[in-house]
Amino acid sequence: MSEARYSSAELMVVAGSREIGDGDVVFVGMRLPLIAFALAKRMHAPSAVGFFENGVIRDRPSESLLYTMGDPPNIEDASMCCTMSTVMGLLQKGEVDLGYIGGAEVDRFGNINTSYAGHVGKEFVKLPGSGGAGDIASLAKRFVVIIDHNSRRLVERVAYVTSPGNGDGAGWRERQGLPRGGPSAIITTMAVLRFDENREAFVASVHPGFSTDDVRENTGWPVRFAPDCATTPEPTEEELRVIRAIDPTGFWTS
């Protein structure tokens, strides 16, 4: 395993950044996606635009590390500082190509729970809630989930749907009245999963250092693997250099 050269979080940031196409409007979110957006801007997506739910819009990433999207460096030289209604309205209109969501639990159809772990009404853990995640999952053209890989987090069926994915399969989003979108990838500490024509997640690539058995044993449903399931590309030296320039102490990426 090449853990000496890069951390698991760095690999996830790189995988996350590669989901951004040049020119995409990206609803950025918290933690690792803050760095994935900044990395993509410097590498392959210089024309991408970042939305932050507090009302910040940027076409150049902040020069310093962000602990939250509201930090002063994210305001200085912003393209626009507006209201939450403005960015959420543009999201609802269909102007956001990609959003990131962190999760406590994600299921085989890409539904996400960040509200109540365990059983609602019985023993449960109260998680912080939706924030903007439910809106991103509902309204972005596609969204990417970033999550630790274990069988408590990748589950057959989430206990509570905070952020709607593909429900119970193809056609579900349309029946609910959701205007578009759905999950396009789940990036975990072990693998990248994508979605088939039934809108169910399958393993598209396994990270270096992990086996298909590791992934199978740590996934809470009998997960399928792509026939051409590959090894997730490692971060390049240039990508690592950029990440470490953004997060020199490894606050988010160590």
């Binding site: 507090n54 924030g131 995640a133 809106d135």
Partner: protein
């Protein structure tokens, strides 16, 4: 009847924090705070609410970066109407968990929202309509029938819609960079749902880093969030948003959020934290002294990057 306590034109609405909370926040009130999300959080006002032992409050906000957790831990809160309650850079809020899971210090009623639905609810409140329609959260458990929302279809088409009910806080508390004694105020940076919340609230308390002469505010009326007549009280409280940031004044105290997280894992430890940082000090100046001059100075903004001036002259 419209509650117009304090809603008027007056030359000075300047009060101390103690007077403002005493006069305009009552037991059982609903209070919107933290409306700019991670910045401009009115911590000093929240701490005074704890010191005055307000009870059975309903807290309203999109996300809350530890302030709601503190008020819940102090036993002030009956209900939350919010999208996210926790500690943005450090993780979960332990007091929120204890109240929700175990009823400690007492049971908490949770009305789950998303950021967009909080924004729409406050906007409906600001517009004086009973609800606003949206296309978000359809199919989620937040939108199920036991929640505050209703489902419908567009009268102009066939789109399925979520109806988000208006939210009208009894009190909205804003932290801003500067205000004049008559209630005029300027805030800048990311504002989230600050304006909507201040327009929806029955009463508005403005907490400012600086008190300036009225012409400073009227020199730039586009930067005013809420008409001054809607402001019930103006409080001068430098450092009142710490540990959150105030653009142009001080940065976010990231370490403080991490220390709070580590220090509140048990109810007993949380009580000690609240005793030390809130009940054990008599106001914000004493809080900042406890924080330490060196730490407080280290957060200060030293640079200067003023916006280019604009010309408002009529002649």
């Amino acid at each position: 009847m419209v509650d117009r306590r304090g809603l008027t034109v007056a030359s000075s609405k300047l009060l101390t924090m103690r007077e403002a909370i005493s006069r305009f926040v009552s037991d059982g009130d609903s209070i919107a705070m933290g409306l700019a999300l991670e910045a401009l959080i009115p911590f000093a006002a929240g701490h005074e609410i704890i010191r005055q032992n307000r009870r059975d409050l309903t807290l309203i906000g999109p996300i809350s970066d530890i302030l709601f957790d503190q008020l819940i831990g102090a036993g002030c809160v009956k209900r939350v109407i919010a999208a996210w309650i926790g500690n943005v850079s450090a993780g979960l809020g332990y007091n929120y968990r204890r109240a929700a899971e175990d009823g400690v210090p007492h049971r908490l009623e949770i009305t789950d929202h998303s950021n967009f639905t909080i924004s729409l609810g406050l906007t409906a409140g600001a517009l004086g309509v009973p609800y606003l329609p949206a296309r978000t959260l359809l199919g989620s458990d937040i939108a199920r029938d036991s929640g505050p929302f209703k489902h419908g279809t567009s009268p102009f088409g066939s789109e399925k819609l979520l109806f988000v009910p208006a939210i009208v806080p009894d009190v909205t508390i804003l932290h801003v960079q500067r205000a004049s004694e008559d209630g005029g105020c300027h805030a800048w940076g990311n504002l989230g749902v600050s304006a909507e919340g201040a327009l929806a609230g029955k009463r508005v308390i403005v907490v400012a880093e600086e008190i300036v002469e009225r012409p400073v505010i009227t020199s730039d009326p586009n930067r005013v969030l809420v008409p001054p007549y809607r402001v019930s009280a103006v409080v001068h409280e430098p450092g009142g948003a710490h540990p959150s940031s105030v653009q142009g004044y001080y940065g976010r105290d990231h370490a403080f959020y991490g220390e709070y997280h580590a220090a509140t894992k048990t109810a007993t430890a949380s009580d000690e934290w609240i005793q030390r940082w809130v009940r054990g000090v008599d106001g914000r100046a004493a809080f900042l002294k406890l924080l330490g001059a060196e730490q407080w100075r280290s957060l200060a903004v030293r640079g200067s990057k003023p916006a280019a001036p604009v010309n408002y002259s009529a002649t």
